[in-house]
Amino acid sequence: MQPDIQDQAVIDADELMAKTAGFKLSAEREAMVDDLQSRYPNKKATLLPLLWAIQEQEGWISREWMAYAARRCEVPLSHVLGVVTFYTMYHQKPVGKYHVQVCRNISCHIRGATGIIDAVERKLGLQHGGVSACGKWSLEHVECLAGCSWAPVMQINRTLHENLSPDQAVKILDELE
């Protein structure tokens, strides 16, 4: 997914850091991060779990929360930005309430992934990378989800759906409405 122009606006790191000085996760998540930081050899190494905690709470990771992560893990903001943009599962903008990922790799393809992708795209009226206007749905074509022996597969939020036919895929989406 290409970032849009707005995303590429210059970031004033100092300003962001100052603005987010009071940021805190929920008490439970803060305690989880404290626990991890007591086990890991250094704070920087807890960046990935911290980013997950942010995304679980907020649904995505804004520049403001990246600044919070930088402070919490004692790394520069640029490092956090580098990490967030490297890993495909960290969302840099909001996704739908239901984030639908359809596998397009080789094993799913052999078992009919193209038909699943077509059916899901038609049903949701979305293409790869799209988010519905109502905020309910977002769609991504993804690489192998390690469900190869149960192909074709699709994952909605964290639930994997296996051995799909196009009709079944649509039915699963219908039931979420």
């Binding site: 920087k44 890993y87 495909t88 080789i106 190869c148 149960w150 192909a151």
Partner: protein, 421 residues
């Protein structure tokens, strides 16, 4: 056939602490804790167990590389970043036999002298992660992870570290970078991780399937494990079969088992109405073979190599006649281009350029010289980068061209003209 990893698969409650104990669980860990760490390493060396993530390096030998008395902490990383297309075996082990996997990891941690282990789990995994996290919590409550494990005086901690969507983190030094809170970019070897890995300390990275075999080896003895399989490929291996077979699934067979039997018996033969054309035997990165060649070989490291491919991760991808090889190769090319971490130029540029050419051929817009260009790209990206990702795209290109050249040529203009179209 002897089952090592799936000996207790499907037994009621075997995914619980009590259920795992009931089938003899934790006996191996208790036995190990009464041995000297080097004796545990010797037992695993004697088993001949080789790394099941894909590289096939002897597990015990790897453990033995950890330098003694450096004064630095030692780390164990469990590689549960199962991402090689066609591979879905570690998921089954974690979801159905979590305590077996964890017991193996704890034995490994003891053997190498690690006090902290990182269970690096693929970000996309849901059930596997929940099951492993819950099992880790249980082991903490029971004192099997913590201080003075089973009264041995040995302390250990284990944390689950979730990835976030990057194929390259399955490469051991990429995994280490990711554990350190960095982008998952591989590092130049040497130094090898056993000497200088995570946090610049000695680190061993082992695949889940390798570690899952360790409790059985400790219980039954390395020699008993070594008696299974072939002379050079010992023991058993999981094969995750996908594609055009009647019963895709994850099967455990002894090393040296005929591919034909795996496909015809375990997998119930080709999918109804399908004729087999090709098989990729070890995950998407290894060379493809014509079906007749693959069906004629045995499933051990040496036989698969002699047939022109690699055993890799054991991800067997079965391709039938209805599939277009140029289309499948374009799918693989897009995958490697998407997953290149970008730090080595031959990979970053080679995967992208290669992928664009493969797409163009598949779409019917290829130029007559495209195959020659792709062969040159594949050659120049082999052995010129920090890790194997670039070679992992080169091998499919070279093997698809070698065995299915006619399908590509049929899409290119020179051939079209020759047919007079």
């Amino acid at each position: 056939m002897t089952k090592v990893l799936f000996e207790h698969r499907g037994k009621k409650g075997v995914d619980t602490f009590a259920g795992w104990e009931a089938v003899g669980g934790f006996q191996a860990l208790k036995r190990a804790l009464k041995m000297k760490p080097e004796e545990v390493i010797e037992e695993v060396k004697a088993s001949g167990l080789r790394g099941r993530g894909g590289a096939g390096f002897p597990t015990g030998v790897k453990w033995g590389f950890v330098p003694k008395n450096t004064g630095k902490p030692i780390y164990l990383c469990i590689n549960a970043d199962e991402s090689e297309p066609g591979t879905c075996k570690d998921r089954v082990l974690m979801e159905e036999l979590p305590f077996m996997c964890l017991e193996g990891a704890l034995i490994a941690a003891y053997a190498i002298g690690a006090k902290l282990a990182f269970w690096y789990i693929r970000g996309e995994f849901d059930l596997s992660e929940r099951v492993i996290r819950k099992a880790v919590e249980t082991l903490r409550e029971k004192g099997v992870i913590g201080k003075n494990v089973f009264g041995s005086g040995w302390d250990v901690d284990l944390v689950v570290h979730r990835g976030a969507g990057a194929y390259i983190c399955g490469e051991e030094t990429g995994l280490i970078s990711s554990v350190e809170g960095d982008k998952g970019q591989p590092k130049i070897k040497p130094p090898f991780p056993a000497v200088e890995g995570a946090f610049r300390c000695p680190t061993i990275v082992n695949n889940v399937e390798s570690l899952a075999a360790v409790p059985w080896i400790l219980n039954k003895g390395g020699a008993t494990y070594a008696a299974l399989g072939t002379e050079k490929s010992k023991g058993t291996k999981l094969f995750s079969v996908s594609g055009a077979v009647a019963k895709p699934g994850v099967y455990e067979v002894e090393m040296g088992y005929p591919m034909r039997d795996l496909i015809m018996n375990e997998c119930g033969g080709p999918q109804a109405g399908k004729t087999l054309k090709a098989i990729i035997p070890g995950g998407s990165s290894v060379p493809v073979l014509p079906a007749e060649t693959a069906l004629g070989m045995n499933l051990d490291y040496e036989s698969v190599q002699a047939a022109g491919s690699l055993l890799g991760s054991g991800g067997v991808i079965v391709i039938d006649e209805s599939q277009s090889m140029p289309e499948l190769l374009a799918i693989l090319g897009r995958f490697y281009a998407h997953e290149s971490c970008g730090q080595c130029t031959p990979c970053r540029e080679g995967t992208g350029w290669g992928s664009r050419l493969l797409n163009r051929i598949d779409d019917g817009g290829g130029k007559s010289e495209d195959m020659v260009t792709l062969e040159r790209i594949a050659r120049f990206m082999t052995g010129t980068t920090i890790c194997f990702l670039a070679s992992s795209m080169a091998m499919p290109i070279q093997s698809f061209f070698k065995h299915f050249r006619h399908e590509f040529e049929a899409l290119l203009p020179a051939t079209t003209e020759a047919r007079g179209d």
